[in-house]
Chain length 283, copies 2
Amino acid sequence: MAIEITHITKSFRETRALRDVSLTLEGGHIYGLLGNNGAGKSTLLNIITDRVRADGGTVRIDGTENRSDEALSKVFLVGEQNFFPEDMRVKKALRTVASFYPDFDMALAERTAELFGLNLKQKITSLSTGYGSIFRIVLGLAVNTPYLFFDEPVLGLDAQHRELFYRLVLEKYAEHPCAVVLSTHLIAEAANLIDYAFIIRSGAILRQGPTEELMEGAYTVSGPAAAMEQYLSGRHVLSETALGGLKTACVQGQPDPLPDGLEIGGMNLQDYFISLMKEEDRK
Amino acid sequence: MAIEITHITKSFRETRALRDVSLTLEGGHIYGLLGNNGAGKSTLLNIITDRVRADGGTVRIDGTENRSDEALSKVFLVGEQNFFPEDMRVKKALRTVASFYPDFDMALAERTAELFGLNLKQKITSLSTGYGSIFRIVLGLAVNTPYLFFDEPVLGLDAQHRELFYRLVLEKYAEHPCAVVLSTHLIAEAANLIDYAFIIRSGAILRQGPTEELMEGAYTVSGPAAAMEQYLSGRHVLSETALGGLKTACVQGQPDPLPDGLEIGGMNLQDYFISLMKEEDRK
């Protein structure tokens, strides 16, 4: 049981949005899909869920191509766009989605809406950016498909609501260990949830792997600029930042005993991601 | 030289958006304005910059009420809304703003746009959420007013662009130590910049102070649930989270020697903020 994506390509006019992307998604993982604006994340999610057609390649959902209703009933995309009529209210929209997904849990949807303070009587078009995101989160958590995709789920959410979202995803996943894919710019926060990351850049997968393995071969080091320059010479530096007379660098490799005055720091997934992007920018 | 806000109140229909807000903003600080959606942050910024009129109270900018052109020429709000004609392009909009602000640095604006990859020829209405934010950031960094307000500046920005924004704010501030106010939901990241925070809830200032002092009286502690329950009994618990058999709590007060098996953890501004909000929710 898996989604197998093989050799997907897609262009929009002159832009090559996806270049030969292949990857596999299995139940029992919370995946992170990480990439800068324009990297191709949303296009990939739209292709998997058949909202957009690829130019080439295939998407198979549990062995069946993603064109049949049966295959598509197993996936749900919490995307940035709404497809509901202008004057539809939240409650009606929940019922509409429930009619397409037999395992939709309406009691859970109503409970989740209440936790977030989402008014079921409000018109969808009158929701703020934050409450638009919350409405889509409520749908996603209730739909109970084996594959669940969130595209920028926390856009406009305040810190307390983001924490609530992360907690609810973990609870849902603990009860119902489906495959969850989170595409998000808030990498530092999502890193607490995701166990496997795909890093996408310019329409291609740049790195993938269990998040701990990805970061194993990198560390940060900081200290006075002169001592740092000496230390960094000959090493594989992913990125450097300087502030006043101090310098911090992300370095690929294993840390060896450091000269006096330099300090090793932790590397988190967001730092690692930014460092990789800067390294690619220089190429 | 300061902005003095005294006894500001504002209602929208039945909603009391601001209830008797008084605060002072001085050059040489990067302030954080922190609050959940609907707390009144944007209303307050709109009132300071005279985009919205208060029902009561006054805003004085360097001693002059914020109704005169002279007073208003000292403030700039990088807000969520645009006030440019539909088909205006980025370049033209920069020139328009420059014509109102004599210290506007066009060379800096062009350099910043290039760093972010913002196309000066694009129409403002065709910018994505992320590039809409970038356009406003470019304006804010170039305008050179003594008081600069950013309302959700990083909405839709990827991690690399957020890092660039924070770096540029620090550089600008180092050269030109104005008063910067950041209103943002990404508190953990902004905490690296801000030295003084206003925490606003339901239209009133709940806490304010230098960020380090705010957090001085609080800590996190975690360990097995049973041991934690015993430890927490009789203490001022701001918030608790449980995962499996483990529990983590934010506690107000000074940490004393801990029983075996419990661990003290660091408190960051975002954790502190969320804890405070949860405590208020329970009241």
